[in-house]
């Protein structure tokens, strides 16, 4: 009896320490970002940085306004969500509830495979397939918000599908059976009973998907055009915050580099706000 108590307490301590280490790691990264970024914002001037419309770091004197990039990130991510989330959730429903078993054995590993394809490959794929398609259908040169949204939507599919499907499968079978027994059609049972029950998991999937979309760089750089100016419509190119960091981090020195880290801070705050929003949504929906 006593042995078990000792073992129990030991493991509880192990779990607690793990949690503390995790928190420490998170704190460390936040510290790094803010300690480097905030002073840079101060040196440039908060308003000039956040609301400035001109980004020309190599000019003498340089300009460090990131508003064009913030809008670029916003539009591209919104587009990716509009495309990726509905398709992802519906495909997850398909995999979990509609798909015949033999087909599933082929399709599920295929979706997992999608998750492992390097961003660079997605980027090239987008460049030779999506960009010419946009160019042909809508004019311009193809590298645009639309192309980036389409590609990103594709890229977040594995995340959204994978986690949503797990969430749907984790819902106890009795809920579905009960609904059908009460006379609901297959679709009604799925969309009105299963999905709401899996809500927590689905929201987690969406948030992680958004995170992936905002943080994606390599692929977006190849299809979005990367013009560092205010967005001019979905058929024209833009530059996202992440693209800005990657394009210039290699050559940036001193203040320029710190300005890019400050961009990382902005991204962090962006995502924090989105998470808070979703958290509020999650709470609101609870009965």
């Amino acid at each position: 009896m006593r042995e078990r108590s000792l073992q129990e307490n030991l493991m509880k301590a192990v779990f607690l320490i793990s949690t503390l280490i995790s928190i420490l790691t998170v704190a460390l990264i936040c510290l790094f970002l803010f300690a480097n970024g905030i002073p840079a914002m101060g040196k440039i001037g908060f308003y000039q940085f956040l609301l400035g419309r001109e980004w020309s770091p190599s000019d003498l004197p340089p300009a460090f306004g990131i508003l064009p990039m913030m809008l670029g990130s916003l539009y591209v991510t919104a587009g990716a969500i509009l495309i990726g989330v509905p398709v992802g959730i519906l495909t997850a429903v398909f995999l979990a509830k509609v798909c015949p078993k033999p087909l599933y054995r082929v399709l599920k590993p295929a979706v997992d495979l999608l998750a492992g394809i390097p961003s660079v490959v997605y980027g090239f794929f987008g460049l030779v397939t999506i960009v010419p398609m946009v160019r042909m259908l809508f004019g311009g040169n193809g590298s645009s918000i639309l192309a980036a949204s389409l590609l990103l939507g594709l890229m977040i599919l594995p995340t959204v599908i994978g986690i949503t499907e797990s969430a749907i499968r984790a819902v106890p079978g009795e809920l579905y059976d009960g609904a059908v027994a009460l006379g609901a059609s297959h679709e009604r049972a799925v969309f009105r009973v299963l999905l709401p029950a899996a809500k927590s998991g689905i929201l987690a999937a969406v948030v992680l998907g958004i995170g992936r979309a905002i943080g994606e760089t390599m692929a977006v750089i190849m299809v979005a055009g990367n013009q560092a100016r205010m967005p001019e419509g979905i058929f024209k190119g833009v530059r996202t915050l992440t693209a800005n960091i990657v394009l210039e981090m290699g050559y940036a020195a001193e203040l320029h580099r710190e300005a890019l880290i400050a961009t990382g801070v902005v991204l962090f705050v962006f995502i924090l706000l989105i998470n808070l929003l979703f958290s509020a949504l999650r709470k609101g929906g609870r009965p």
Binding site: E8, V87, P118, V128, P158, I163, H186, I214, I245, S279
Partner: protein, 273 residues
């Protein structure tokens, strides 16, 4: 009648979404295969890299090593933290919400920021230099939120009735967790691990700043090395070896498929037990 129409619409939408997803997927895979397979030669798998054969074998070895090491660091950490948050912490504890919030936020930070952090902290400050170790820890930090969140969700999805049943039979909390809850949550946790593996294998920016880009098999954990993704990036950078870059992508695909199949088999085994 309206219900019937909604039903049909939903059914069509579901099929359409699936068709779109898998159409795009197969097209993508076909694209990689057609571009890469012609360039797969035995010389591509030579033990030593030189600028003639641009062998990817060292990169392959490094990739497998990195995946295993990063998982070895991140999975216990993430899993144990999730266990604590779900099984031990009181429900509604603000600590839980805080950890969840920061974990989800962290997963959105672009990998290059992790790379910079890794470079400044592991490579420079701790003095590890460009090394597998620095790369591993940086990657582990990167996938920690993913593992933590999916593990947490999977554990939460296990109905309380399972736990109550176990307690009712006299099992302690620890035993309940390891024997009842974890196996039930295993598929979901493994789904998170698979996503994490995908992320590691596809990562480039974070690694070039921490593990370096040396194209030989690393002799030790403190040596530098490049993964398949970094190898691909390096090959395609100057437009000189595009064919071989695609060949590398093909090998990557096979590797990921292999790892995924393994994990799925593992999940099945644990779930049954």
């Amino acid at each position: 009648m309206r219900q019937k129409i909604t039903d049909t619409l939903l059914r069509v939408a579901t099929w359409l979404a699936a068709a779109l997803t898998f159409g795009a997927l197969f097209f993508l895979i076909a694209y990689i295969l057609t571009r890469g397979i012609p360039y797969i030669k035995p010389s591509l798998f030579a033990l030593h890299y030189n600028s003639q054969n641009v062998s990817l074998l060292p990169a392959l070895v490094t990739t497998v090593l990195m995946v295993l090491l990063s998982l070895a660091v991140a999975v216990p950490l993430g899993l144990f933290t999730a266990i604590y948050l779900v099984e031990y912490a009181k429900r509604g504890n603000p600590l839980v919400r805080m950890v969840r919030m920061t974990a989800e936020t962290l997963s959105g930070i672009p990998s290059i920021v992790y790379g910079l952090f890794g470079m400044l902290f592991f490579v420079t400050w701790l003095g590890w230099g460009f090394s597998i170790l620095a790369g591993t820890f940086t990657l582990a930090i990167m996938i920690l939120p993913l593992i933590l969140r999916t593990a947490e969700e999977s554990l939460k999805a296990v109905p309380d009735t399972y736990r109550e049943g176990a307690f009712g039979l006299g099992a302690g909390r620890l035993r309940t967790v390891f024997r009842i809850v974890l196996p039930a949550a295993a598929p979901g946790i493994l789904a998170g691990v698979i996503l994490a593996v995908g992320r590691i294998v596809g990562e480039t920016a974070a690694l070039t700043y921490t593990a370096g880009t040396v194209a030989q098999i690393p002799e030790s954990l403190m040596a530098s090395g490049r993964t398949l993704s970094v190898h691909m990036y390096a090959l395609s950078s100057e437009g000189l070896y595009t064919g071989q870059a695609y060949a590398t992508a093909v090998v990557l695909l096979v590797l990921v498929a292999g790892i995924n199949t393994l994990s799925a088999a593992l999940a099945k085994k644990i779930g049954k037990g």
